[in-house]
Symmetry: C2
Subunit: 110 residues, 2 copies
């Protein structure tokens, strides 16, 4: 997704493979997104799922990410453990150094 923020900003790439026990997962995911949106430094979030799921969230600073992780871990702990839903997951915390894009609508001057 396009992020309207001066470089550098930060991205958290969360990649996961789900188990068959996904009761409660969708609700948790919605709550996580709602919770993220009200965190300081939140810039945006995008998700897709095929065989694997990928969620990328964007943040102004590393401190914002650390704060968000504390909130998310706490909130998840009150629900089912992550390990119930995920066969495996990986997280990368990244500094966005360059960004560009294309938008057909803008290009065509609509």
């Amino acid at each position: 997704m396009t992020i309207n923020q001066e470089l550098p900003y930060y991205a958290v790439i969360f990649t996961s493979t789900q188990t068959d026990s996904i009761a409660g997962y969708e609700l948790m995911a919605q709550e996580m997104e709602a919770l993220a949106k009200i965190q300081p430094g939140y810039l945006g979030m995008v998700s897709a799922r095929s065989q694997v799921g990928i969620t990328v969230s964007y943040w102004a600073t590393l401190k914002d990410i650390a704060q968000w992780k504390l909130q998310a871990d706490h909130s998840l702990a009150q629900q089912k453990g992550k390990s119930d839903w995920y066969e495996k997951y990986s997280v990368q915390i990244c500094k966005v150094e360059r960004s560009y894009g294309f938008d057909k609508e803008l290009k065509e001057g609509k």
Copy 2:
């Protein structure tokens, strides 16, 4: 996905919304992935698509990413233009500063 590489390494986050004209798209995507895998510095790639598509590719250095972009642009130019397939897309080039994960199989000692 889990990347077995010392930090820092680099990630390219490609987020896209497709048009209705996706003839040839799947073939192109497969060719792009095959081409990426033989590039210097390629570390891995993961894709998922729901309403939006997200592809994250991982690379050892920024130079490897620049070289890959040259190859990909050239190859795409020989096929349909990106703009035929994509309503819009955005690209972020990122330095991965921290990485962690969970694997149920490893945790349970299987």
